[in-house]
Symmetry: C2
Subunit: 272 residues, 2 copies
């Protein structure tokens, strides 16, 4: 109940913030509305955007987003101010979901192509934020990434454990469980968020992971270095990383990457 | 004169093929038309598309294209048939140019951030097809990649040496020359295309490269392996690869990649 109330408040707050930008039509999408690509698909976030062209003055937002996804635009601190509306439309509408679905369809086709040893040593690495769960309820209140990242308020949100699942990723997760590939959760979240992260994942239908790895207190170094070193430990312990999925290039670059990597979309923030 | 006539014939042929698909409005774009993002910009190809939504039945073409650019969709043989129109619109319209511009803007910002040694050992690797020059006059006649690749007809086209420059890449190329970084042209084209490739590049305003490297006859192995080994030779000879740009992930993956890599858009074909 408390959780449902919090969620409702969050959504109302998000709606207020969003409408104050002047570009958002707040409208709970009914599951009976037949959208073109994702009719009946579970929502990631219950606000409905207007369609956005992305043709704003200044940086062309669609090209900027492509640059982010193809790892041409790096080390950025915030979404360009002129692209806040564009990114909001992208994240709240069917576009984000559709882009995510193509990634997961490719991942599942890859899994189906594997000749598995079935020895219990085959693992798949998942990131958390914007990979297993969506922080849109948070980012909708923080300019969809156009506001500089505030670690204090984000961690307070993460501690609630209320982030909704990304349904496409959950589909892959369950597929892997069904074929005997063990999920490893590897996140840059700090160790003190272990309980809330695990609770959040379970509430959202994720279970049966082999291990949940968070960043130890005092770890200095980039996310890329942290994640690479954790994957190296897995490999040294005899595990085969058959796949690795995240929303950041720092999730999937740095040896050992895993036999195949998948980059989920995320135009809201950059972690190096 | 002969070249201009060939180009005109090609464009007319392309226009005929394109209009026969029923989805194309053939219309030479006047330089005085103010487009939103690229007013007065040189054209890559002189056909004007209708605006395409990319929402076709079957695979969502915009999401498929993003999947290609973010290296999630790999080893594909042809553009999905339902996306031929979408890719044609993308390539002929301002979208491709706009996406390319963001990549080159990032590359130039990176060049500006470098502290160069200026010792003549700093090089930048360029691919050829869809990187320095555009084969759109060819692909417009071959389904924008929806028709399976035909090496014989493509090589005959390449031998004409008539491919137009990609203006954004040429901007980067000239910037590098101006700061003393030496361009290295590294292409998977076969050695017998050396003269036509060099002529094509010079006609299109590229000059002063340090070396032009083509695939030796009898080379077995992937494009990725070929290009990596050539970059290794450069490095072994004391060169510093400060940048590397191509339209294929196989241009920019594989150690030594270069200090920074840039992926230009190309939804028309895949080379592994």
């Amino acid at each position: 109940m408390a959780m449902a109330r919090t969620m409702t408040l969050l959504l109302v707050a998000a709606a207020l913030v969003v409408t104050s930008c002047g570009a958002w039509k707040v409208n709970i999408r009914m599951p009976t509305v037949a959208a073109m690509d994702d009719a009946m698909a579970p929502l990631i976030h219950a606000l409905r955007p207007l369609l956005g062209s992305g043709r704003h003055a200044g940086v062309p937002c669609d090209s900027w987003r492509l640059g982010v996804e193809a790892y041409n635009v790096r080390d950025w601190k915030a979404v360009p101010a002129s692209c806040e509306d564009y990114v909001g439309h992208y994240m709240l509408g069917s576009h984000y979901r559709r882009d995510s679905k193509v990634v997961i369809d490719q991942a599942i086709a890859y899994v189906d192509s594997l000749k598995l040893a079935g020895n219990g040593k085959e693992v798949w690495v998942f990131d958390v934020d914007e990979t297993t769960v969506s922080n849109l309820p948070y980012y909708a209140k923080h300019g969809f990434g156009a506001t500089p990242f505030n670690v204090t308020s984000f961690n307070a949100y993460a501690q609630e454990g209320s982030a909704p699942a990304l349904p496409e990723t959950r589909r892959l997760y369950n597929k892997l469980l069904s074929v005997g590939i063990k999920p490893v959760i590897l996140t840059g979240r700090a160790e003190y968020l272990r309980a809330s992260t695990a609770t959040n994942l379970r509430r959202q239908g994720y279970s049966g992971w082999m291990t949940l790895l968070l960043k130890a207190p005092g770890f200095k170094g980039s996310s890329l270095a942290f994640k690479s070193s954790e994957r190296q430990k897995l490999q040294d312990a005899g595990y085969i990383i058959v796949g690795n999925i995240g929303d950041q290039w720092s999730d999937i670059l740095g040896a050992p990457e895993g036999a195949r990597t998948f980059k989920l979309p995320d135009p809201m923030y950059y972690i190096g």
